[in-house]
């Protein structure tokens, strides 16, 4: 099971990296999302996975979880990571919108030219 999960993570990473290397900023954002997902899964996998999946809950009337439950620690970490990843995505998206309205393009190379022209005007 771990091997399969590892391969899935690898595929997500490859797809994310390929998209991030594109010149278009939207594709870059897509790649960022995919890599966030892959990293979350990798944290999850590193905490070991329990086939059959019992959530880490303390049953009614007990003081401790009973039997073999999933590892709670990575889940807590991933929860934080998902929320932060969402914050990053939302901010980047707004940044892209702003950049498009300022520079009229989402091509990162063209943005470079637009920026230096801008500086030239000011100087």
């Amino acid at each position: 099971m771990e091997t399969l999960l590892a391969i899935t993570i690898g595929c997500l990473v490859a797809a994310g990296v390929y998209l991030m290397l594109a010149r278009d900023m939207l594709r870059f954002l897509f790649g960022l999302t995919l890599i966030s997902n892959a990293v979350n899964l990798a944290i999850f996998a590193s905490g070991r996975i329990t086939v059959g999946g019992v959530p880490p809950l303390v049953p009614e009337g007990e003081k401790y979880p009973v039997g073999d439950v999933a590892n709670a620690l990575p889940q807590a970490l991933i929860l934080t990571a998902i929320v932060i990843g969402f914050g990053l995505f939302a901010f980047s998206l707004v940044l892209a919108m702003r950049a498009y309205s300022e520079l009229g393009t989402l091509d990162t190379d063209a943005m470079l030219l637009a920026e230096s022209n801008d500086e030239g005007d000011k100087a």
Partner: protein
């Protein structure tokens, strides 16, 4: 230059008076060591400097360092007296005096240091102070270039020397020169001998301007005249000679040492004397004769014999005396007439008799005339050349040529301006007068000293040459006697032949100079090469910067991702990864479907050109990941994941109204490379995850949370308890991040187009 000074400006200012007093005090201090040192003793003082590294600030006085210290401080007094008047009235006089004194102290530190690291520090201090002095007229392009050139050439050599010193330290286990002296065999037998030798020679040859590093020295004449007289004839350039003499007990005695020094020294000395004759500017002429002297000193440091070292020691003093005197004399002439052009000066003896006589005395010593100290020096050079273990022909031949040319140059510098024809003299609106006393003191005292030591050679032998030979060869008995009249022998015949040849050269020097200038156009010019070298280095730097800092996002990312791939992948390959047997147990078709969904969503996002398809693909992947979480007992995470995925889609849909569609992918040649890097990094991550999951996991923390969630935090959902109780501050930080992102996004959205807000 004459315009540096105001004729009427007072000599009696702090900037004029203090430096000579400091130098005189130091000179007197070092004189007090003369008696014990000449008796063969040595003195060492040490203070802890960096105790943790065993580095001491240690000073050591023996015959060699004392001679240098006396020359530096003694000539320092005269040069500083001279510059006190020469620079008087210059608004930058205070700055100049400070540089000059700093330089003197650095130079004294260099020759007195016992620790190799201390020596290096002072060595670089002389480089820096000389940079400031050469570039003193900092608004002149020429000064800037010369200063930078001297700094780069000698600084590079200094770094090579430092590497050599560190090697010496690691081979011998000590950095103290006084301890190293007896350890010559350890260094000579070490396999590191050759690298050490080459590195130390690189330092010495750049500092002492040996061919092919000679070109910076004539350019350094852009400095004010006192600087040229002091740094570039009597002191700093002798730093390299000092280093070679200091290292002589440790590094000499091999064929590499012998032949390297002989070849470079001989070539430099002849090459420089020929070029000296070519110059019109008297200061440039003297600069090249300095190169000649440095070459001769290096040449005689090659051999281990008593004659060679005695000759080296004598010539060291001879050269310092006459060269400083002549430079100061040229300074006086320049001050009074406003020119240094050999073709124009003439007939000055009636207007400037004292300067003329003083310069004449120095020039006679330079020419090696009887009974000056220069004569003794030249005789010794010949004797040492005749018994040279390298090649009598090369060494003696080089000295003969150089001495004959020196004879002619001495005439050009000191004879012609005073006794020659005054027909080409520039017309001045003021009468040409004798230079003021502080400026005259240097040439007069140094010129007379040349005669004095010639007549009292045993004083020089007792004070200087015997102790130097003792310091270099370890045995004062090996020193040869200094005789003004040594009888009729081969050296005398050679001297007479030198005079004859020199006289002929002097008589024809105008024709020769024109020929040389004409020929010089065709000679290769190191100085011109220097500029192209700097241009090439700059162009190379621009290219490298453009390559690694192109300002193109995808290229930066490519570098980052490839580095991660190579670093981690390389480590895995190098260490070997034990992934064990693939863990494939318990896989059901549900798992396969979930994983398949996740991957296929990503695949769609990669290949599509449609924004809607891409966002749908991302959604599928997100839901797939959520399903993975559900499958393996993480419902809380799955709920969050689904909520976030929905928000992402909503946000993007809103944004899509204002954003362009995805561009068609260009048939772009880097896409293959991108795919390789992407797949490589994916594979590496897969390997890492497999590697991590195949080793045992420390469950202490998880067990702690499981054990205490309910009893002390009163929560039954352990994940929630961790988030809001055990790690509440983390969660608080996370909320802050989201809040900041939201505020920033809001600000970006509300802001009008640039410049329109405020």
């Amino acid at each position: 230059m004459a315009q540096n000074s105001d004729q009427s400006a007072s000599f009696w200012t702090a900037a004029s008076i203090v430096p000579p007093l400091i130098a005189a005090g130091l000179f007197a201090f070092f004189l007090s060591f003369l008696h014990p040192i000449s008796a063969g003793e040595s003195v060492r003082h040490a203070w802890e400097w960096i105790p943790s590294m065993g580095v001491e600030l240690s000073f050591f006085i023996d015959g060699l360092s004392l001679t240098f210290a006396l020359l530096i401080s003694g000539i320092g007094v005269l040069v500083m007296l001279f510059s006190g008047k020469y620079m008087a009235g210059n608004p930058q006089h205070g700055r100049f005096s400070m540089y000059l004194v700093s330089f003197m102290l650095a130079m004294l530190g260099l020759v007195l240091s016992d620790n190799l690291l201390g020596l290096f520090v002072f060595w670089e201090l002389t480089t820096i102070t000389s940079f400031l002095l050469i570039g003193f007229n900092h608004d002149s392009k020429l000064s800037q270039r010369s200063a930078m050139q001297a700094l780069l050439v000698t600084g590079t050599g200094g770094l090579a020397m430092l590497a050599g010193f560190l090697l010496i330290g690691s081979v011998s286990g000590t950095m103290e020169l006084s301890e190293l002296r007896g350890m010559g065999d350890i260094l000579r037998d070490s396999p590191m001998y050759l690298p050490i030798l080459l590195l130390v020679l690189a330092g010495a040859f750049t500092k002492s301007a040996q061919f092919p590093f000679h070109f910076w020295l004539p350019n350094a004449m852009a400095a004010p005249t006192p600087v040229s007289a002091y740094l570039h004839s009597a002191t700093m350039v002798k730093g390299g000679v000092y280093l070679l003499a200091r290292m002589h007990p440790n590094l000499s005695g091999t064929d590499v040492w012998l032949w390297t020094l002989v070849v470079f020294g001989a070539f430099t000395t002849v090459f420089a004397s020929v070029l000296a004759l070519k110059q019109n500017d008297l200061k440039q002429t003297l600069a090249y004769t300095t190169l000649m002297a440095l070459g001769a000193l290096v040449l005689f440091l090659a051999a281990p014999g008593g004659y060679a070292i005695t000759a080296m020691a004598t010539f060291l003093v001879v050269h310092s005396l006459y060269k400083a005197a002549l430079f100061l004399m040229i300074g006086c002439v320049d001050h009074s007439t406003g020119t240094r052009d050999a073709r124009r000066l003439g007939g000055l003896i009636r207007r400037m008799p004292i300067t003329g006589v003083a310069g004449g005395l120095a020039a006679l010593s330079m020419a090696g005339m009887y009974p000056f100290i220069g004569f003794i020096g030249k005789e010794l050079l010949y004797k040492a050349g005749l018994e040279s273990p390298a090649s009598v022909l090369i060494v003696t031949g080089a000295i003969f040529l150089a001495s004959a040319l020196m004879f002619a140059v001495a005439g050009v510098v000191a004879l012609k301006p005073f006794w020659g024809s005054a027909a080409h003299m520039p017309q001045l609106d003021r009468p040409i007068r004798e230079a003021p006393i502080p400026m005259l003191a240097g040439p007069v005292i140094l010129g007379v000293a040349g005669l004095f030591f010639g007549l009292n050679s045993h004083a020089l032998q007792h004070a200087v040459t015997d102790p130097i030979v003792g310091a270099v060869l370890g045995d004062m008995e090996k020193a040869k006697d200094l005789h003004l009249w040594a009888g009729v022998n081969m050296a005398l015949y050679l001297s007479l032949a030198t005079f004859a040849t020199g006289l002929v050269l002097y008589l024809f020097h105008k024709t020769l100079r024109e020929r040389l200038i004409a020929a010089g156009e065709r000679l290769m010019s190191f100085d011109a090469k220097w500029d192209s070298l700097l241009v090439a280095i700059n162009a190379g730097a621009v290219k490298v910067t453009a390559l690694i800092q192109p300002g193109i996002l995808s290229r930066y990312l490519l570098v980052v991702f490839s580095t991660i791939t190579l670093a981690i992948g390389g480590t895995i390959l190098a260490r070997g990864l034990d992934i064990g047997t693939p863990v494939l147990d318990g896989i059901t078709y549900v798992h396969l479907i979930v994983f398949g969904l996740t991957v296929s969503g990503a695949f769609v996002a990669v290949i599509t050109n449609s924004r809607i398809a891409a966002i749908a693909g991302l959604g599928v992947t997100g839901i797939g990941v959520a399903l993975v979480f559900i499958q393996f007992g993480a419902p809380d995470v799955a709920i969050t994941q689904i909520l976030v995925e929905m928000l992402v889609v909503v946000l993007f849909s809103v944004a899509a109204l204002k954003l362009p569609t995805l561009p068609q992918r260009l048939p772009f040649h880097n896409r293959g490379l991108h795919a390789i890097v992407a797949i490589g990094l994916g594979a590496v991550v897969t390997g890492v995850v497999i590697g991590i999951t195949s080793v045992p996991l420390n469950m202490n923390l998880t067990e702690y949370f499981e054990k205490y969630s309910y009893p002390i935090a009163h929560g039954k959902n352990i994940v929630n308890v961790i988030l809001v109780d055990f790690r509440a501050f983390d969660t608080f930080g996370e909320i802050s991040v989201v809040a900041v992102a939201a505020i920033s996004a809001y600000a970006l959205l509300k802001q009008r187009k640039s410049g329109g807000t405020s």
